[in-house]
């Protein structure tokens, strides 16, 4: 009886591990396949067959991306928009979060409500009037428009507010007695104590901006201002040739994909813990 139970136990454990490894394989194999293809020779990458190792090893996929297709410009635009946009987003969310964390602030409930309501309006649902607002401001076709859109978000403000609320009150009290004003309390006491919160908001925002597609296809109509995702999408879905008649082989497409995910993969091990924490902190709306 006991032996039977142990055998059952072992069988379950083995099956469970096999199941998990299989699921994980569906995530790893596509990526590995892309890496192998990106390092293959131009025509070798197009030949059918199971490709798990570069065939006719070559860097032509990567060199074509930089030299012939000039993905450098979109890459640079993406870096500018993501970095500046994230810094601005983190700063503004923290400022607003700090203000909303002050229980004595008059009108606090009204402003909080104003921000909460925006969380119920998906950006996609107002994309057209948003485009028209940008047009009225004369910002279409500029990187400034991309940096400005999503300059702050209800989710991030709430997350920062919840983070500031968790700072022990006596730390703030003693600073207040020393005569510190709100800006000094914010900058010298609350910000240094909230590095984890700032990192969480910053990471979410950076990934979101780096991966953003819709804002660019809405606001940018000039190839020198394109971001990486839009340029990559044109490259991948543009069939196998560009307007200039250059044949785009699979290794080039996959090299583009690897370039687009590399910054994320590098940051990921450092960032992993913040992603989970952020969801729980942001979910508390009371």
């Amino acid at each position: 009886m006991r032996r039977k139970k142990q055998v059952g136990q072992a069988a379950f454990t083995t099956l469970n591990v096999v199941f998990l490894v299989l699921i994980a394989a569906t995530m790893i194999i596509p990526l590995w396949n892309a890496v192998a293809e990106s390092f293959s020779g131009s025509f070798a990458s197009m030949r059918p067959g199971i490709l798990m190792w570069p065939r006719d090893f070559s860097l032509s996929g990567y060199t074509t991306i930089w030299t012939v297709l000039d993905l450098w410009q979109p890459f640079e635009n993406s870096v500018i928009v993501s970095v500046l946009g994230t810094l601005l987003h983190v700063l503004l969310s923290a400022l607003a979060g700090y203000a909303l964390a002050q229980s004595g602030m008059p009108g606090r409930r009204f402003v909080t409500g104003l921000i909460l309501i925006t969380m119920m309006i998906p950006f996609e649902a107002i994309m057209i009037p948003f485009y028209i607002t940008m047009q009225q401001l004369g910002l279409l076709n500029s990187l400034a428009a991309l940096i400005l859109s999503g300059m702050v978000s209800g989710f991030s403000v709430l997350l920062m507010r919840n983070f500031f609320l968790s700072i022990p009150g006596d730390i703030l009290e003693s600073a207040k007695i020393d005569g510190a004003g709100h800006f000094r309390m914010f900058w010298q006491i609350c910000m240094p104590l909230s590095k984890a919160g700032l990192a969480t908001v910053g990471l979410f925002e950076f990934v979101g901006r780096w991966n953003n597609l819709l804002t660019t296809i809405l606001l940018i109509n000039d190839s020198t201002k394109n971001t990486l995702q839009v340029a990559l999408n044109a490259l991948i879905s543009g069939g196998s040739s560009t307007s200039s008649g250059y044949l785009i082989t699979t290794n080039v497409k996959m090299a583009g994909i690897i370039i687009a995910i590399l910054p994320l993969i590098i940051a990921y091990p450092f960032a992993q813990k913040y992603f989970v924490r952020g969801i729980f902190l942001g979910a508390n709306k009371e």
Binding site: N33, G107, A260
Partner: protein, 312 residues
């Protein structure tokens, strides 16, 4: 001198008018409102103004350049009688409900399964790997899968060929393509939700398991009577976020659609985009977006109400 001043200042307090106190409260809050200013300005200019503006645009024959005559509810009438709008609606329902159901169950199974793994190395590695696709953009994920499923040179068809199965045209058969979209969507987000459930599992009181074990409970009992019920609140949060997510379905479709499958995979948000920026009919596009927004709000409020009732 101190003693002479003391009673006077004490007397001044009750004399102070409540209005002065009220004004002072606002004066003291000025720095806080300076901090809030950029945020409030952003939401007013880029959320509330466009929202209000869209009510007017939706009743205009809106041209980006030139005159914009008012046409009343004509745009709404046109959208509501447009078969493309309704087929996009139907596609959104089909894709959305499928993604919701499969995407809801899959991470729970994954989390329960990972929770049974004793080796912490394996657990951490699997967690890290399944989270990866969530970090990638839809351009990357769509591009990867279109390439994997390509009939000539794609990995999936190469494997099928080894197994003696003829190449399958995944992305040019509308019914297959719909399922590809559903499963790729689940594939991308399963790790993210699994990690949320795992984090919630860490918070379950271990004493519950100990006392259950004393009572002779086995693995399945523990799972059914302790783990799953303890996750109820997390399930509600994940469910609510997912509902909002499927209504916003846009990037994935924009990246993965092609002319052959479009009628079966176009969703409400791609309808708005196409109407506005391909057919250049801004008025109608805005009218349809407002209809979708109202529908979204009703659904969200309804779900939130449902969850709250269920919770109390």
């Amino acid at each position: 001198m101190m003693s002479a001043d003391y009673p006077r200042s004490q007397m001044a307090i009750p004399v102070r008018h409540p209005l002065v106190h009220h004004v002072n409260k606002w004066v003291r809050a000025v720095p806080l409102y300076v901090m809030l200013l950029p945020t409030i300005a952003y939401f007013v200019i880029f959320t509330y103004y466009p929202l209000l503006h869209s009510i007017f645009i939706s009743m205009q024959n809106f041209n980006l350049i030139g005159n914009r005559p008012y046409v009343g509810l004509h745009n709404y009438r046109h959208v509501l009688t447009d078969p493309t709008f309704w087929s996009s609606f139907e596609n959104t329902l089909f894709l959305g409900i499928s993604i919701l159901l499969i995407g809801f169950v899959a991470p729970i199974i994954m989390a329960l399964s990972l929770n049974e793994v004793l080796s912490s190395w394996l657990k951490r590695t699997v967690q890290m790997v399944i989270y990866l696709p969530h970090l990638f953009s839809w351009v990357v994920v769509g591009g990867l899968w279109i390439q994997l499923l390509a009939p000539d040179g794609g990995l999936v068809n190469a494997v099928l060929q080894v197994m003696g199965i003829a190449p399958v045209q995944f992305m040019s058969d509308p019914n297959l393509a719909r399922w590809v979209i559903i499963l790729v969507s689940v594939w991308k987000d399963v790790g993210f939700n699994t990690v949320i459930y795992l984090a919630a599992m860490v918070g379950i009181n271990p004493a519950l398991y100990e006392s259950a074990r004393v009572d002779g409970a086995n693995r399945w009992h523990e799972m059914g009577y302790i783990t799953i019920p303890s996750l109820a609140r997390t399930m509600q949060v994940v469910g609510l976020l997912s509902i909002m997510g499927v209504l916003r379905l846009f990037d994935q479709i924009y990246v993965m659609r092609n002319a052959v499958i479009e009628p079966q995979v176009n969703v409400l948000m791609t309808y708005v985009y196409d109407m506005g920026f391909q057919e250049m009919n801004i008025g109608r596009a805005t009218a349809s977006a407002l209809l979708i927004l109202i529908f979204t709000l009703i659904l969200t409020l309804f779900t939130q109400r449902l969850i709250r009732v269920d919770h109390s």
